[in-house]
Symmetry: C2
Subunit: 394 residues, 2 copies
């Protein structure tokens, strides 16, 4: 049996603090899980993650299956040993790529209906690289064009080889542009795959079932009921999450009241405002590439005390010329290594010169910023001051 437990220690409205325990350590929730797609949080190594205090990471089944290959990771002792990382590791199931490499590419959208910003290689090609059958997802590799079939059994086998602590059932992430009928057919399939995933998964790993159903109340409720009825260790909520953040909140309002005390993971979400809105609605964990991807593109988070607000998305763009001679750190209130050691001017110089050091320093800041925010969210739940904190930020 998987070494796994989840204990809720405090609540404040629907928001809650929990302790998620695995063989590789604990996660105090709510938590934003840093994304380590290819067994590396881009630009960082495991010492950096330790310094930042990352409690866990999420790696990507599809990408690791293709590179370096899950059997190689297994031979090398699994992801923890491969990455030399001693914290719980989540893996997704590969189901999201059914969308991002399929409909997402075809329709050039992301799962909130915005412009697609998924895999760069895929983005450039624009040729649809995934399609769905009843058995699974048929992929064309983004690396060499080779063909692969991801069935629930195969996804479980890959995730077993990767040796993560928390795995996901294979699902089909539909498009915000899919209609009711398609979304319903996909849901029937996702539910069947959920049961197959449960049947085939490695018992040493904790498995989360994924609720789908698009922006259709009836389907989301059906899915919540069905997935909750199965013996999953946790529940994940997958996209499509409507066409706006308001839609997403509504979807959570439908789903969450139907869930019991198992941990709840919201897949692929994690901008600053999302964290407030979704923690408030009872979400325990998130994963999102935004903090790391934005960092690499020059977007650095700042707190309200330093001018961060909804309208600037809580960030500055370090490429801005106004920072050329700015001696201040990114954020005076931030205690991360980057802010303790370097000025905006130095970071701007590194960014403008496309210097490798920039990417790491920026990533360290953005992740530290987010993990600090998560800590403040937890403290505000504990102190019953969540609304006050939310008001300060939003």
């Amino acid at each position: 049996m998987a070494e796994f437990s989840f204990r809720i220690t405090e609540t404040c409205g629907s928001a809650r603090i929990g302790i998620l325990e695995t063989a590789n350590g604990c996660i105090e929730t709510p938590y934003l899980v840093p994304v380590a797609t290819l067994a590396t949080v881009k630009s960082l190594d495991s010492s950096d993650l330790e310094s930042i205090g990352a409690q866990c990471v999420l790696a990507n089944t599809y990408h690791l299956y293709l590179r370096p290959g899950d059997s190689i990771v297994k031979k090398l002792g699994g992801l923890h040993k491969f990455m030399n990382l001693k914290v719980p590791i989540f893996t997704d199931s590969g189901g999201f790529q059914a969308f991002s490499l399929g409909y997402g590419m075809e329709h050039n959208i992301n799962k909130l209906g915005g412009v697609f910003s998924g895999d760069k290689k895929a983005e450039e090609g624009k040729e649809k690289l995934a399609r769905i059958t009843e058995e699974g997802i048929i992929f064309k590799s983004v690396y060499d064009g080779s063909k692969h079939v991801l069935t629930p059994k195969k996804s479980m086998s890959i995730q077993s080889n990767l040796g993560s602590d928390i795995i996901m059932a294979l699902d089909e992430c539909t498009s915000p542009l899919s209609g009711y009928e398609y979304t319903e057919r996909a849901l029937v399939r996702t539910h069947r795959w959920a049961k197959e995933s449960l049947r085939h998964h490695d018992r040493k790993q904790a498995i989360y079932g994924i609720i789908q159903g698009g922006y259709f109340r009836e389907l989301r409720k059906k899915s919540s009921e069905f997935i909750s009825s199965l013996p999953f260790e946790g529940i994940a909520i997958g996209g499509a999450l409507g066409k706006s953040k308001k839609d997403m909140h509504e979807i959570l309002d439908w789903i969450v009241p139907m869930l019991n005390d198992r941990p709840r993971h919201l897949l692929g979400i994690g901008e600053v405002d999302d964290l407030f809105e979704c923690v408030e609605r009872g979400i325990d964990t998130f994963d999102c590439v935004a903090p790391t991807r934005l960092a690499r593109r020059g977007g650095l988070y700042i707190r309200p005390e330093s001018g961060g607000k909804i309208s600037n998305k809580f960030r500055i763009n370090i490429d801005n010329k106004t920072f050329r001679e700015d001696k201040e750190p990114i954020d005076k209130k931030c205690k991360c290594m980057t802010c303790r050691k370097y000025s905006r001017a130095y970071l701007r110089h590194l960014y403008a010169a496309n210097e490798l050091a920039y990417f790491r320093l920026a990533t360290i800041h953005n992740l530290s910023f987010m993990l600090t925010l998560m800590k403040e969210l937890r403290e505000s739940i504990r102190g019953k001051t969540f609304s006050k904190l939310k008001k300060k930020w939003l």
Copy 2:
């Protein structure tokens, strides 16, 4: 006056151990100075340099003048503050770019006569971007094509703004393909520039004069005599250094006996065998992009105990498929962070996937390897076992 002293503490033949003292700390020589072209050792930050134990770095006048601009660095408190680095900093004078962007590009050669491997941008363009006048070097920026004139006075002013501890006189680095006559004319100019550099340099900085003269014994001797006669704090030896390593050794054999006890820096040299050959001939400091550049291109150093030898240039190429499942570190004898934490298989995966984390981990290894080798060289001089160590390696 510059806070600067150099004290020789041990000798073994012509090889010697020294302590070079500056306001920002000491360097125990012989030492290979890591190159921080644009105020960053590519992929590392100052904490990494501290962890590696880097005693100093060398930054590039030409590149920093163009980006972010020396006046900006000055406003930000100089290079030490800009980089948050508390060790002595060397800057070159920009004279090497007279070659690499001029003759080097035109003739597609490096200063030992091999294929030019200088600035990537320049390499791609192949248009000559520098030419020499009696007043100075006329450059076209590799970034925006803008025109700039680097005179001795200007080079001194830039280096003063950068605030480095040890600066270089402006020189003209000639091409290995230049004949006697041109090299002699260039030498007269370099000697005049040496005096002008001395006249205009910031007295708070220690200044090294540069010996030129190509692969011409008479000119090298003339230059050694002239540069030695001036009140420079140290002596640097510039290229062209002939067309082979043998030529380079011969050039050192002509020059070094003519120098007194001031510190001797060999510009732009630093492969493993060079360090042995040149330390043996009395060189105190080196600077070379090889360890960092090779690291980024997959070339990782290994010691003789791990199979390193002249024929494989003391390195493995991590891209090699044989490393796909290799659980061992790059070099079992290496104590660097990368070797303590990660397998060749993990590094190969990161390299093959072009993951940013690779560049830093590889750079940490190669620099640590070189700095450990320098330490062993010093210990062998102290213990009078230099020849034994050289035999073990070469």
